[in-house]
């Protein structure tokens, strides 16, 4: 990186670089060098303003961006997953269970028109130990899974798997819509 480009980077630090200069800098071939210089000057700036007193884990010299890209690209190291993974799991676990139970009831009940014989215990078992999910399932208990043949059982397994996958990708949004759209008899989901 020549002095002209470094001077542009310095002007960027001060919010004095125009769009063209920023574009030229970002298109420079050696971005590692740009990042290194930018980071060092940011360190000096932070030090001068007292914001260099960062937490032990994230000093100004730490490069957080590598970890950020790992997460964005789905390459999160196991050691770094614990905090957010625990948060996400706790956040979506019970809603996901309730959604699956609901999908089971709505999808099969409405799509196939099966006759219900009233076995809430069976539906409650699908919903796990979650009280809310159990209550929801019990309130629409006019559905039974008894009397399914092998093809239907296979279909229900695939259905649940697909639904759970859809739920996890969509973070819970639109899951019921999906369940209503897909009929157990339709196949091809």
């Amino acid at each position: 990186m020549d002095d002209r480009l470094r001077e542009t980077l310095s002007a960027m630090m001060d919010d004095e670089a125009d769009e063209l200069a920023v574009r030229r800098l970002l298109s420079f071939s050696d971005q590692d060098e740009v990042r290194g210089q930018w980071q060092r000057w940011q360190q000096i700036h932070d030090l001068m303003h007292g914001t260099g007193a960062a937490a032990d884990s994230v000093s100004p010299a730490t490069d957080v961006s590598a970890g950020v890209w790992q997460r964005l690209d789905g390459r999160v190291p196991a050691s770094e997953q614990h905090a957010t993974k625990a948060t996400n799991l706790q956040r979506w676990h019970w809603p996901a269970v309730a959604m699956i139970a609901m999908a089971l009831v709505v999808g099969f009940g409405a799509g196939s028109g099966w006759q219900g014989v009233g076995e809430p215990e069976l539906i409650a078992a699908q919903a796990g130990a979650e009280p809310n999910a159990t209550a929801t399932a019990a309130s629409v208990s006019e559905v039974s899974l008894q009397g399914l043949d092998d093809r239907q059982r296979q279909q229900i397994h695939r259905y649940l798997l697909e639904h759970a996958q859809h739920n996890s990708v969509g973070a819970g949004r639109g899951s019921v819509g999906y369940a209503r759209l897909v009929s157990a008899d339709a196949g091809g989901y």
Binding site: Q42, T51, A53, A54, A55, V58, S59, A61, G67, E80
Partner: protein, 228 residues
């Protein structure tokens, strides 16, 4: 070290009171890089167009401040690191929703606070402190972080601070004046050019050379800091 800076500031105030209101408004900026930043907006536009390098620069610019915000809520250093990364991940994913109504840093600040609060909520812990987005513009995170930093880090920081002061003192006067007016008073190049009675290009060059000289002076210490 700051005598020249103060002298330059006094000189600057005089012409401002003589009918240049735009300059007086500049002196109110105690935290210039936390307000509206055209550079940030330019980088955000680049990120929206898929430029990863632009996002890297934003991360490097704000990672310390984001970490310090999060450390007001969470005291475990690994958790702070995790949540700092998580904040930037969320910011990247939501960057299309950043409309530019507020400064990028203020927007990022809100994400950081919410990330920390959500984390504590998920862990069924009460937040240890409170923060509003309005704090983003004037929050002094230095004291808080000094409280939780390890003795080694404090020592290292003191060494860096001393070396920084020495490096600035060693700068030629014209470089030091321009650099300090920019860094401590947040003046624009245009205002500095008026004060120092030189072209804007000269101001730009002087600040660059000052920054470069300080960087070279601190070089080994910064590298040492990076390796820890």
């Amino acid at each position: 070290m700051h005598s020249i800076f103060k002298q330059a500031k006094t000189q600057a105030t005089e012409p401002a009171s003589a009918g240049k209101p735009s300059m007086t408004s500049s002196f109110d900026q105690t935290a210039p890089d936390q307000g509206d930043s055209q550079t940030d907006l330019q980088l955000v536009r680049k990120v929206r167009n898929g430029d990863r390098a632009a996002f890297d620069l934003l991360v490097l610019k704000y990672q310390s401040r984001v970490a310090s915000i999060i450390s007001r809520y969470v005291f475990d250093s690994h958790e702070v690191m995790d949540l700092t990364q998580e904040t930037f991940v969320k910011a990247f994913r939501a960057i299309d929703r950043f409309r530019g109504d507020s400064a990028f840093y203020t927007w990022l600040y809100r994400i950081a606070v919410n990330t920390a609060k959500n984390y504590l909520e998920a862990r069924s812990r009460r937040p240890q402190g409170s923060a509003d987005s309005a704090d983003a513009e004037n929050y002094d995170d230095g004291q808080r972080l000094r409280d939780i930093a390890s003795p080694e880090k404090l020592l290292q920081r003191d060494q860096l601070q001393r070396a920084l002061n020495k490096a600035i003192d060693a700068l030629p006067e014209e470089l030091r004046s321009a650099f300090l007016l920019r860094e401590y008073d947040g003046l624009s190049y245009e205002d500095i050019a008026r004060i120092l009675e030189c072209p804007i290009g000269t101001v730009r060059s002087r600040i660059f050379r000052a920054r470069d000289a300080v960087d070279r002076h601190l070089g080994p210490l910064l590298n040492h800091s990076a390796s820890n």
